[in-house]
């Protein structure tokens, strides 16, 4: 069920002060697919990810040119409500960052601020935790502190937290880099479940992970998008020499 593009990026340029960090990036992100962004560290892939939900707005000295179209509408237009935008595009961070409150309150945080009533809240929390494959492990201690969970559980809690605001798109910024292999495996399985309902963009420097989980892959190098294709094509038959060098481990 491929119903077209959720997000289209057109000629996106970004500067940190004088540093031209993203150069003329063009990319289509398909609905209900997992798009992976790979590349050596410092290549701009995380910066690019933060353009999609305008988290770069929070960094001083960032200048952006170009368009990011979410279902056809440019999110960098003047009158765009950034808060509403972030509600539609959730983000999961590199390091699990649960808030210092109970598991329940962490998941309920988003719905509460967006005005979901008390009655529905229990249902939203349960569903989100189930969708994040965490419910079985925590259902008996929802009032326990989120910071007492293991790293992998914390990261799934952050996913549940993102799901609870019912976004259309979820951005994952190297979600497994701080986790052990078993937790990584669980989250990768979870991604496959999530893509049935959500559009997913994942930044990773782990090429095997990109190959395992994604449908499309983009390769970034020095702020430029070198190549973008179906994951299998990109890994088995890359068009560009730099891509081949990178995935065969000649640099990176």
């Amino acid at each position: 069920m491929d119903d077209g593009n959720e997000i289209e990026i057109r000629d996106l340029n970004l500067w940190y002060g004088d540093n031209h960090a993203l150069k003329d990036v063009n990319l289509d992100i398909r609905k209900n697919r997992i798009t992976a962004l790979i590349g050596p560290s410092g290549c701009g892939k995380s910066t690019f990810l933060r353009c999609i939900n305008r988290m770069n707005d929070l960094i001083e000295g960032v200048k952006i040119k170009g368009e990011v179209l979410l279902n056809g509408e440019n999110i960098y237009k003047k009158d765009v409500d950034v808060v509403a935008l972030r509600k539609r595009i959730g983000q999961v961070f590199q390091k699990p960052n649960p808030f210092p409150m109970s598991i329940y309150d962490n998941v309920a945080y988003g719905p509460r601020i967006h005005g979901v009533g008390k009655k529905e809240l229990d249902g939203v929390v349960e569903k989100s935790l189930k969708d994040a494959a965490l419910w079985r492990e925590v259902s008996d201690r929802l009032e326990g502190a989120a910071l007492d969970l293991s790293g992998g559980q914390q990261q799934r809690l952050c996913i549940a937290r993102a799901l609870a605001i019912r976004p259309d798109v979820i951005l994952f910024d190297e979600p497994c880099s701080a986790l052990d292999p078993i937790s990584t495996h669980k989250i990768e399985d979870l991604l496959q479940e999530l893509k049935k309902k959500y559009t997913i963009v994942i930044v990773t420097h782990n090429m095997q992970q990109a190959a395992r989980v994604s449908d499309y892959t983009g390769f970034f190098l020095l702020g430029e998008m070198i190549e973008f294709n179906r994951t299998r094509v990109l890994f088995e038959n890359p068009e560009m020499e730099q891509t081949e060098d990178y995935i065969t481990g000649r640099f990176g």
């Binding site: 939900n53 988290m55 929070l58 001083e60 808060v83 509403a84 935008l85 972030r86 509600k87 539609r88 959730g90 983000q91 961070f93 390091k95 960052n97 649960p98 808030f99 210092p100 409150m101 945080y109 988003g110 601020i113 967006h114 952050c158 937290r161 993102a162 605001i165």
Partner: protein, 313 residues
């Protein structure tokens, strides 16, 4: 002498120096109690602390009026300084663009550096006159004037400690909340302030200690009358039938009346008091009360601060 021996020698000499601070603290305690003890041979400690009459000529040493006025002026100062100080801390830590932060920080430092006698002078000439004229009171030297001046004096400490604890809230909490479409204010109210709360609380406690111990500003603006409102006396005395509600109803009246703080009493009466006499000893006993209050507040606040740093980092 080889270098190891020399190092050990230096180390033990430094050790002797480094206990000076503890030694001074110990000496302060010993000397205060040593002078105060003569009073407690005549007057029981509870009578001293809760007695409502202070008249050295008649041998009456009830310290409660001074404690009461110190607490009232401090509470008033907190009501002004907490909202103002915490919101300024939020401004510095979260809102202010670089230039505004650079402009505000030296202001806070200067505010902390102004000598208390100058706060007092300013309070006497401006605040006291303003209160007298605008409220049409017989005298502007009131608890209210004391509260306003004390508020300005404790603002720097509340701001700097609150700002530190707001800034020590991990950035990831804030980003996580904003990424979910929370507004800045929602993020602040639900994530940042609750996490920073112990530190803010510690700053407020330190501010209370400062306010209770402040002398020069208070003595100039408070009016120095140890007459407590009747209701308070009744509450303490056995004949009293008044209720707490009555006391609360009297708060405006108390605010607009003169009072005398613990610190003022020591300062004003040390001159006339005869050395070694009971009056002299009673003034040291007031110092003991003051010392105990500020000591407990300081230990509590440092305990909270050290605990909160562990849990955050």
């Amino acid at each position: 002498m080889n270098h190891q021996k020399r190092e050990d020698l230096v180390k033990s000499v430094l050790f002797v120096f480094s206990i000076t601070a503890s030694l001074i603290l110990l000496l302060i305690i010993i000397f205060l109690f040593n002078e105060a003890i003569r009073l407690f041979q005549e007057v029981s400690f509870l009578d001293f602390l809760f007695g409502t009459k202070w008249n050295p000529e008649q041998g009456l040493y009830g310290a409660f009026p001074f404690v009461f006025f110190s607490i009232m002026a401090t509470l008033g100062a907190l009501i002004i300084a907490i909202p103002l100080g915490v919101s300024c801390a939020v401004f510095l830590a979260e809102i202010a663009p670089g230039w505004a932060r650079d402009a505000t920080r030296p202001v806070i430092e200067l505010l902390a550096g102004i000598p208390s006698i100058i706060y007092g002078l300013f309070g006497l000439v401006i605040i006291v006159r303003f209160i007298k004229v605008s409220l049409e009171l017989a005298t502007g030297e009131t608890i209210l004037a004391g509260s306003i001046i004390l508020a300005a004096m404790i603002l720097p400490i509340i701001i700097s400690i609150s700002q530190d604890s707001i800034e020590s809230v991990p950035k990831s909490f804030k980003l996580g909340s904003l990424a979910m479409g929370a507004t800045n204010w929602q993020t602040l109210r639900k994530i940042i302030l609750p996490t920073a709360l112990p530190g803010i609380f510690a700053g407020i406690i330190l501010g209370v200690g400062r306010a209770m111990g402040e002398t020069m500003a208070v003595v100039l603006v408070l009016g120095n009358s140890e007459n407590m409102p009747e209701v308070v006396k009744q509450l303490l005395g056995k004949e009293g039938s008044s209720t707490v509600m009555q006391l609360i109803n009297q708060v405006p009246e108390i605010l607009f009346k003169p009072g005398e703080a613990l610190t003022s009493a020591i300062l004003l009466e040390m001159g006339p008091a005869q050395v070694g006499g009971l009056h002299y000893s009673a003034l040291f006993a007031l110092g003991v009360i003051l010392f105990c209050i500020t000591f407990v507040l300081s230990v509590a606040s440092n305990y909270i601060l050290s605990r909160s740093q562990i849990s955050v980092r």
